[in-house]
């Protein structure tokens, strides 16, 4: 293999040292700095959510509810869900990697609305602050789903405050989506046609569609919950003439598409990783791109599959079920295309690629178990059991968190200018994979055997599987703490990465690492399809 493209040096001046001082960060409109602000904030929320999960898993080591009271337990899983969903996973890939990369990948100097981008981060922080305030001053115990009438008339915890926190974070997400859509439409470099768009951008475009069309419905729903709780309006409370099932419709109209906000960006990351580390074009570019849009659009038609036993009409149930099966097909297309991309590639097992493998495998299992849940007759049995818990952790933790970590490793050299230590990274990827499966595989069995979710205490026969799960969670924790440490370490001691340590295609690699404030010295011109690895010189990876 030939030599590296550019000597691995870090440029004198770049976005990180262009300005100094706390103000230069808090008032920045540079999308790259904002991405780092998000990175720090969501890392905090991830560990907060992880701390809640730790308490959940500790409690479930024994059948009796002995570690914490049932009220505390209920708050723990609620706050775990709320934090992980609204303050970690929804913004994870889009707000960190997306923010950093969308403008760079299209050869723009910034997002279309840099100030709105900063506003998004502030909204996120305010929402997170309000939710944290609710958690500190007593917490909330409704489940992350806020089902009525429990949330509006019975719970005596901080429901309104938490809802307001989620609502504000929702607006942050709306503005991020708006910014991406407009940017991708209006700011592309010359020659960057839609067919030349990297798949990362297609998936972020699809994600943004969901963000702008779904999130407002969540917003109004939370407003109605708050109004009902505050003023006893009776919109969802049957004691006052309302219908609790309507709440579920409104909630899932957002929250089902939202699960695709939590997977599509990860799919985009995986498309980049699989091509970069097999040095090959993606198999079936247009199918993978179109599948993203199809998932976003059809994803809006299936929300009722969360309500098969809720009292919805069975005919509506059937419509939602068949549509759920339709939306599974584009996901299948993606999985097959990634696999086929490896065929006759030049595959190297760098850490990001290991995470990509993990993603494909675990997402497949998570997605296929989604088919169990979309099967109405079977969902009657497994609904609200640990089977569902296992399903979504497989997709969200096994899938999206892996994609996030994979992407972080892959673009870390671009963001920081330094390489992470490969050996440690591989080790922690392995730990995450093993710990993950040990944590969540037993939960499929538990669910099928009938263990309901959100249970503080459970019958004794379920203990063995629960102990396995808790053991797995502690392994998983190690796997997540390690990257924290070595990423920080690498900032100082990591090798200089150089502009393009992976020899990747993609405009983001054509500029220095870390990039200058406005990304490019001059606006790049695109003349190639994406992933034209045959046109790239060979490169030896930096260790």
């Amino acid at each position: 293999m030939s030599t590296a493209l550019t000597p691995a040096v870090t440029p004198r001046e770049h976005y990180l040292n262009a300005e100094y001082g706390i103000r230069s960060w808090l008032l920045t409109t540079d999308h790259k700095r904002i991405a780092l602000l998000y990175l720090i904030s969501i890392t905090f929320f991830f560990f907060l959510g992880g701390a809640f999960a730790t308490i959940v898993r500790l409690e479930l080591m024994t059948p009796a509810g002995d570690l914490v009271t049932s009220d505390t337990y209920n708050k723990m899983f609620t706050m775990h869900g709320v934090v992980m969903i609204f303050f970690f996973l929804l913004p994870s890939v889009p707000a960190v990697l997306g923010n950093f990369l969308v403008p760079m990948m299209i050869g723009a100097k910034d997002l279309a609305f840099p100030r709105i981008n900063l506003l998004s981060w502030y909204l996120f922080i305010i929402g997170g602050g309000v939710a944290s305030y609710a958690m500190i001053t007593g917490g909330v115990d409704t489940g992350w789903t806020f089902y009525t009438p429990f949330s509006t008339a019975f719970s005596n915890t901080n429901v309104i405050t938490t809802a307001v926190g989620a609502l504000i974070a929702g607006f942050s997400s709306i503005f991020t989506g708006l910014n991406f859509i407009v940017t991708i439409h209006r700011m592309r470099a010359p020659g960057l046609t839609w067919r030349r768009l990297p798949l990362f951008l297609w998936s972020h475009y699809a994600t943004s569609i969901i963000m702008i069309l779904g999130t407002p419905v969540l917003a109004i729903t939370l407003v109605l919950v708050a109004l009902e709780r505050g003023f006893k309006l009776g919109i969802f409370d049957p004691a006052l003439g309302g219908d609790p099932v309507l709440f579920q419709h409104l909630f899932w109209f957002y929250s089902h598409p939202a699960v695709y906000i939590m997977i599509l960006p990860g799919m985009g990351v995986v498309s980049e990783l699989v091509t970069a580390f097999s040095r090959k074009r993606i198999f079936g570019y247009s199918f993978v791109a179109a599948a993203s849009i199809a998932i976003a659009v059809f994803g809006f038609l299936v929300w009722g599959h969360h309500m098969f036993v809720s009292g919805m009409s069975i005919y509506a149930g059937m419509v939602f079920s068949i549509l759920s099966y339709l939306v599974a097909v584009p996901s299948a297309i993606k999985v097959f295309n990634w696999t086929a991309t490896l065929y006759k590639g030049a595959v190297s097992y760098r850490t990001p690629m290991l995470y990509a493998f993990g993603f494909i495998g675990l997402f497949t299992i998570g997605g296929l178990t989604g088919l169990f849940l979309a099967a109405m007759g079977l969902d009657v049995h497994v609904h609200d059991t640990y089977f569902v818990v296992a399903h979504f952790h497989y997709i969200m933790v096994g899938g999206m968190v892996m994609a996030y970590l994979g992407g972080l490793h892959y673009w870390w050299p671009k963001m920081s200018g330094r390489m992470y230590p490969e050996g440690w990274a591989k080790l922690s990827a392995l730990i995450v994979f093993l710990g993950f499966n040990l944590t969540f595989f037993p939960q499929f069995v538990l669910g099928y055997l009938g263990m309901p979710r959100r249970y503080h205490a459970y019958p004794e026969e379920f203990q063995v599987l629960n102990v396995m799960s808790s053991a797995g969670a502690s392994i998983l924790a190690v796997g997540y703490v390690l990257p924290m440490i070595y990423f920080l370490w690498s900032l100082r001691y990591g090798q200089h990465a150089g502009a393009n340590p992976w020899g990747s295609t993609g405009l983001e690699w054509q500029t220095t690492s870390p990039p200058p404030t406005h990304n490019f010295q001059e606006t790049p011109v695109v003349t190639e399809e994406p992933y034209a690895y045959d046109k790239m010189p060979e490169v030896e990876f930096v260790a």
Partner: protein, 228 residues
Amino acid sequence: MSHSQSTSHPALQVHFENMDQQRETATLGMWVFLITEVMFFGGLFLAYLVYRLQYFPAFAAGSQSLDIKLGAVNTAVLICSSLTMALAVNAAQVGQRKKMVTFLLLTLALGGVFLGIKAVEYHEKYVHHHIPGPAFHFEDVHGGSSSAALNPQNVQLFFSFYFAMTGMHALHMVIGVGLLTWLVIAGWRGRFTPEYHSPVENVGLYWHFVDIIWIYLFPLLYLISRHH
């Protein structure tokens, strides 16, 4: 070649190539924002429709107790304000500063009239105990002549929606009034030119959107079964 191709206008932000790109970007952004607003109100409309189907008589009775004259006048007021807004944008496009400010002021005034009338209506509801809550009380205007006497709870639900929907709309109006005030000041100082008037255009879009919401609210809330 239009002058908005200009690449050196003082209002041009660094990350845009020229004024045209900047303007089109802003307009697209505004439209995308407006469809999020559509979905936001959409949730309310949906909930309203569900209960209107379920409790039709109660909703009809509630609707008939609203003052249709005030509602219709307010509709007309908003339509007029949309016209003046459109004319203000038109003036901005051709660079007639005084005219633009005048039309903006007119729009502002009409918005004020709308909110004033709304306040009168709200006050009326207060006097008649039609505000949902412990003090809620409803007498059917038809004195119970309709076949089924009404469940006051369901009528209260109608008023919950009445307040939620018109309240949310009024909130948007108030924001619009704020934006207009800012436009008037900036416009008077000569911030806007034929090359750069995106703020006027986009506040205009917002204002028309708020008008459209009302165009739906009026028949949905005021016009149920009036022929009874």
